[in-house]
Symmetry: C2
Subunit: 384 residues, 2 copies
DNA sequence: CGACCTTGGTTAAGCCGCTTTACTAACAAA
DNA sequence: TTTGTTAGTAAAGCGGCTTAACCAAGGTCG
């Protein structure tokens, strides 16, 4: 027989044992290669057509064609010839028009205030807004999000590619909020709803997942990484081999309610000793309240160690390259982080922990907004 | 701008922040759709062209063309008309010729004896062989594997699609053994070497990873799952959203040397309290030696609980659907398994553990052989 | 200085792979 | 027997990439 090589088809588990793959058409080829070009321009900056061809291993002909379409769409522009090259005809640089389009991003991770921004395609904030939530929940909260988003859309000075939203809760790939107790959202198709009302592509995902995505694309994080987002609670976003992990019930990353202390404090979830009872902004502030620096560091290190102990099996199972901490730096970036790193290193084998870093996220308060932007970039342009 | 939708391009992290995607050509479209057809025939059995078209959402024309090629290659055959249908022309069933090709699989997970088999495409063993290793290591062991494989190839009664090997150690995607201390293999391109010598496609992967793959394809396991392989040590294979997890340094699944006891027994790795000091066939046998059934169950339950405590964060981070245990059933399938399941459930939130099962692997001693076969099926035919 | 070389980019022709449309084949129901 | 329904094939067309051949615009070198 001929040793024909099949593709590594993207698979998805469907119920019991049935695997579905989607058909691929010639135009998907185009979409893929187009995304590859945009991806390159996005990360490497202005590039000549010839260099694009070399980078993608497509031919100059195909690249030229592709670029001409992108120029016609306004996504790309010619930037003049590259001076000072060697022999041969000097190259014409083409680059993404990163400021000619904008993205609206909304961060719902805080219970009390929603934050939003108008961003360029490179994630620079052009306009920021905040809005008190005033204990609104359920449909009322949806209306408020819509209104808030409309305001941001009005503030946009360029065509908007789409809206990205990071929200707490369990959210499926289509942006349906399956469960977000604090918001009183259950099985709410938030993305579809807003997309309909705003007549724009809207993408919704879990805030911690989105934060991980943001760090991956804008923060330079590795493709196998876990981000621990510390706020009113704890969540995590996980990326494996460059792809977001969703899990069987879309609940991947729900680390806040793993038991970490056998006779720990009671938790809001009804059980005892959850990670969240120790590691959350309020819990940490309580833990260090009234202590001098030294004593506070001891307390923080204890929490850090617990985090490290909890993450060691995860790091081993996935052979992660990085663990990022996101949240209040005064609490996390110090004794806590160091103790967590030490514990992970101490409790894993060298093959797993060599090269591993436990570090702070680089995007600070904008992680979720940036990540929400990546959600849009990835879905609309294939960039991440 | 036009709201063009990009593809979810397959990405891979390359060093720091650089992402590479491979170009896609029209013929990749073909390969993908071809794999999809084979995949369907493999899992659903004989199917008419018209049903294949409906299942894949390709047109009957394309399916007919694809099938005719597969028939010409000998991979597929017509099986006569489907009797007793409703109105209309009765359909001609086509099916994979699962017995017209064979796969050679080798299991190197045991230190002392290598096991191998000639399998049909559905994983049925046609011939089994064993060979004492006699403390051979390094190049000598490679030669022995080659000789052993040659024997199996000679025993094959049908054309062989390829050779699959499951081996302990850290192994990269190209089948290069980066590190396998007990075999004295370091940075050994085993797959390339054997492929060259045997003039056949050879695929090599970690034994636990391969076991997970086997359970996924032949054992009906879910797409987000972790398999704990207990033998002379402990390893794990992880699948997330239907794809194998490799990790940054190809060391994903190395759970044996996670610390689980703060002042535990000394481990061969030089540290103390590794999971492997409690959970391995020898360690378990020692633990229950001389105990009556009840006392043995208490001892096994203690280990099971430790395993559950270790896995709880992993299950939460990935929202796994299943955890499988593979190894000696007399030790694992009972108090140990139940305690592990109880601990995972007890220590994770409902959204994570509802629907989760901790169960025994179904393929018993053949897991690694079956998995090695899947390695070949996936690489050569796109089936998994 | 002009011929030649090198590199960037475009045009034309061709192949591959899918779709739509239109056809034939084979059966059940009326 | 006619009609309707479903399976499968044939022909034409379109999208998307490649190769081959070309022009453009600069260096290098005799």
């Amino acid at each position: 027989m001929s040793a024909t090589t099949g593709t590594g088809a993207t698979r998805r588990a469907l119920g019991f044992g049935l695997r579905a793959t989607a058909k691929v058409l010639p135009e998907h080829t185009r979409a893929h290669n187009r995304a590859m070009v945009l991806q390159h321009l996005f990360h490497a900056g202005p590039t000549s057509r010839a260099d694009l061809a070399r980078a993608t291993s497509l031919t100059r002909v195909t690249i030229s064609d592709l670029v001409s379409v992108l120029i016609a769409e306004g996504l790309v522009e010619e930037l003049g010839v590259q001076r000072g090259g060697g022999v041969g005809k000097p190259a014409m640089l083409v680059g993404m028009r990163t400021h000619a389009f904008q993205i609206v991003a909304v961060d719902l991770s805080d219970d009390t205030v929603m934050r939003g921004a108008v961003l360029t395609l490179t994630g620079e904030a052009v306009e920021r807004r905040c809005l008190e939530v005033d204990d609104r929940t359920g449909d009322e909260l949806v209306d408020l999000v819509e209104e808030f988003t409309r305001g941001l859309l009005d503030a946009a000075t360029q065509p908007v590619v789409g809206v990205g939203i990071g929200s707490p809760g369990v959210i499926d790939v289509d942006g349906r909020v399956l469960e977000a107790p604090n918001r009183r959202w259950t099985d709410l198709p938030l993305a579809a709803l807003l997309s309909e009302r705003l007549d724009l592509p809207v993408h919704v995902a879990n805030d911690a997942d989105v934060a991980a995505l943001g760090e991956y694309t804008f923060g330079g994080a590795e493709g196998s990484m876990l981000l621990v987002a510390v706020g009113q609670g704890v969540g995590a976003g996980v990326m494996v081999d460059g792809a977001r992990v969703h899990g069987v019930r879309h609940a991947a990353g729900e680390l806040g309610h793993v038991t970490v202390a056998d006779d720990g404090l009671p938790c809001a979830c009804g059980r005892r000793g959850c990670l969240e009872t120790l590691l959350s902004a309020p819990a940490l502030r309580r833990a260090v309240a009234g202590l001098d620096t030294e004593a506070a560091d001891v307390a923080l290190a204890a929490v850090g160690r617990t985090l490290g102990v909890t993450l060691a099996p995860v790091v081993s199972a996935l052979n992660l390259g990085e663990v990022l901490l996101s949240g209040p730096a005064d609490l996390l970036d110090g004794a806590l982080r160091e103790a967590a790193e030490a514990a992970v290193v101490e409790r894993t084998m060298p093959a797993v922990h060599t090269g591993l870093r436990v570090r702070m996220a680089t995007l600070d308060e904008d992680v979720v907004l940036s990540g929400a932007a990546v959600l849009v970039l990835a879905a609309q342009l294939g960039i991440s």
